[in-house]
């Protein structure tokens, strides 16, 4: 849990645009290559593509779990899924409904207690990728899942809290964040640092003694961000099909920098879409 918040929505309003229409479920759909898919589907598929074969991935429920399971079914069959509920190497044949879904234990290589997950497997840096969601994310990739508002004691909105995220963000070799993008979720500075990204910029992680590289990739429903090698500020490096840079800028709460090598995400392949939908339907 702890990265689960992202699922809850904070639903973004995007202006309809050419080739893009609102689906019946309020999500944005794109028509391309005779295929229609939603922006959420594009996000899941882009996130899945980021995972490499053989990687060990610490998976939060919701968007990260969908993406990781999709990757395992498409190009990364030997992806090792680790859930904080205590499963190493889960191989669910449907999307788990919660982080402690029985199917995760039943299909795991090993089931262990929760202290062991954190102490023996996460903390020593054995995990390649930590896959997190966020309620708020700032330009240095810091994550807030605790409170909205300035006053911790009297929050505007009380969020679920940290869960496993602070130590996942600290200890995994890299962190990928998957989040639906809007001015509310993509802010200049998070109200509360639940999990450290790049702190206030380059060198902060080293100063704080955080062993992993932090967020190296942020995947949204609009595009993909990477930290600038010099400043660690998140820079737009990729836009999804049908998305314009201006739209991304409007959905970003800081003065957006766009990479000079900006590229466009490949549209979902038929296999990717079919696999994702089959996964979602198998309940």
């Amino acid at each position: 849990m702890g990265f689960h918040w992202a699922e809850e929505g904070l639903v973004r309003g995007l202006a309809p645009r050419e080739g893009v229409r609102h689906g019946g479920d309020g999500q944005v759909s794109t028509t391309t290559d005779a295929q229609t898919y939603t922006s959420d589907e594009m996000m899941s598929i882009a996130a899945a593509r980021a995972l490499g074969a053989g990687q060990r991935c610490f998976v939060g429920i919701g968007l990260p779990s969908t993406a990781a399971n999709l990757a395992r079914r498409t190009h990364a069959h030997d992806l090792v899924l680790i859930y904080e509920s205590g499963t190493l190497g889960s191989k669910p044949d449907r999307l788990p409904a919660s982080i402690g879904d029985g199917i995760l234990a039943e299909t795991a290589d090993a089931v262990i207690g929760v202290p062991e997950v954190f102490n023996y497997w996460l903390q020593p840096g054995r995990i390649d990728v930590g896959f997190l969601g966020a309620a708020q994310l700032d330009k240095f990739g810091n994550i807030n899942t605790t409170v909205i508002g300035d006053d911790y004691a009297n929050p505007k909105v009380r969020l679920p809290g940290a869960g496993g995220a602070p130590e996942i963000a600290a200890s995994c070799r890299e962190v990928y964040v998957v989040v639906r993008q809007s001015k509310r979720s993509f802010v200049d500075k998070v109200d509360f640092v639940t999990s450290v990204g790049h702190g206030s910029g380059k060198g902060d992680r080293e100063r704080l003694g955080l062993p992993g590289a932090g967020p190296t990739l942020v995947i949204t429903d609009l595009g993909i961000f990477r930290p600038d090698p010099e400043t660690c500020e998140l820079v737009l490096s990729q836009v999804h099909p049908g998305v314009e840079v201006e739209q991304v800028r409007e959905a970003t709460g800081w003065d957006l920098t766009v990479s000079p090598e900006l590229s466009r995400t490949d549209s979902p392949s038929e296999t990717e879409l079919a696999t994702l939908r089959a996964l979602k339907e198998a309940k």
Partner: protein, 273 residues
């Protein structure tokens, strides 16, 4: 040696007003029946401890049993917010709720320290986050060999820990399997413990992945079939995902919650569940 009692008797004897109470079960084997029995017996001023206060604590908090919550993630997993928890934190309804907030790694290690008879645990955690600003049970400690700075958290030693398990034998030895979370540590860290089980059997047949709590490490065992519902008990029943969805609307409003409380808790016979 653990005594086998009814759920009502177990709660009556082991859970007192003002106690520090830990109820554990990480998505799996959440002791819901015991939670509702605590509400039914109208316990007050509890300090509730739980890594993932989900529906079970939303119910206790909404019913006004708690004065403080020690936790690391409070939500309705797969659904959204805990409305009773939010109402207590944001509006002090029905009573104010103090919070002490950690990460999962911190909470797990606090139980480990408690189970180990140590006053504190050491971990790589919290560094750079805003949690230490608001939680005074997070401190720094220096490695006496390397000089490294690490986080220290104090042991959790609840007055009573309550968990649910699949089975116990008639001597009170407890057996659970599947996702076993932090339940063993919670029981071993506590001064007293109550374990509800799906069934009491003659013989505990070994199961791969089992965790055994010997009878002499448990205070009371109570049979509570279906006692983890809407959570699940591997080998017995599945998670009731629809109930989690339904809870969102029950818990959202004070009056719908109070209707639920009256109908499903106070007006229910203990044996009806």
């Amino acid at each position: 040696m653990a005594e086998i009692v009814s759920l009502a008797e177990g709660v009556g004897r082991l859970v007192h007003d003002g106690d520090v109470v830990a109820m554990e079960g990480f998505t799996h084997l959440i002791p819901h029946a015991a939670g509702q029995e605590i509400i039914r017996q109208r316990r007050k001023d509890l300090t509730l401890v739980r890594m993932t206060p989900d529906i079970v604590y939303d119910q206790l908090i909404g019913a006004g049993c708690a004065r403080k919550l020690i936790f690391s993630w409070g939500g309705n997993p797969g659904v959204g917010s805990l409305h009773r928890f939010r109402d207590a934190v944001q509006n002090e309804w029905p009573v104010p709720l103090e919070i002490e907030e950690h990460s999962h790694a911190g909470m797990a290690n606090r139980y480990v320290a408690g189970a180990s008879g140590l006053p504190f645990a050491v971990l790589r955690g919290y560094s750079g986050t805003d949690l230490p600003k608001h939680t005074d049970t997070i401190k720094q400690i220096t490695c006496p060999f390397t000089g490294e700075q690490l986080a220290a958290v104090p042991a959790l030693n609840p007055d009573v820990s309550v968990i649910h398990a699949q089975r116990a034998d008639r001597a009170g030895n407890v057996q659970m399997w599947g996702l076993v979370g932090v339940q063993k540590e919670a029981v071993l860290a506590a001064k007293r413990s109550l374990v509800t089980v799906e069934e009491v059997v003659d013989e505990l047949e070994p199961v791969p992945g089992q965790v055994i709590l010997p009878s002499w490490a448990v205070t009371c065992v109570a049979e509570a079939p279906h006692g983890a519902h809407p959570s699940y008990a591997q080998g017995y029943y599945d998670r009731d995902n629809a109930y989690y969805e339904e809870w969102d609307s029950i818990g959202r409003k004070r009056d719908s919650f109070e209707d639920w409380l009256r109908e499903k808790v106070f007006d229910m016979e203990v044996t009806d569940k």
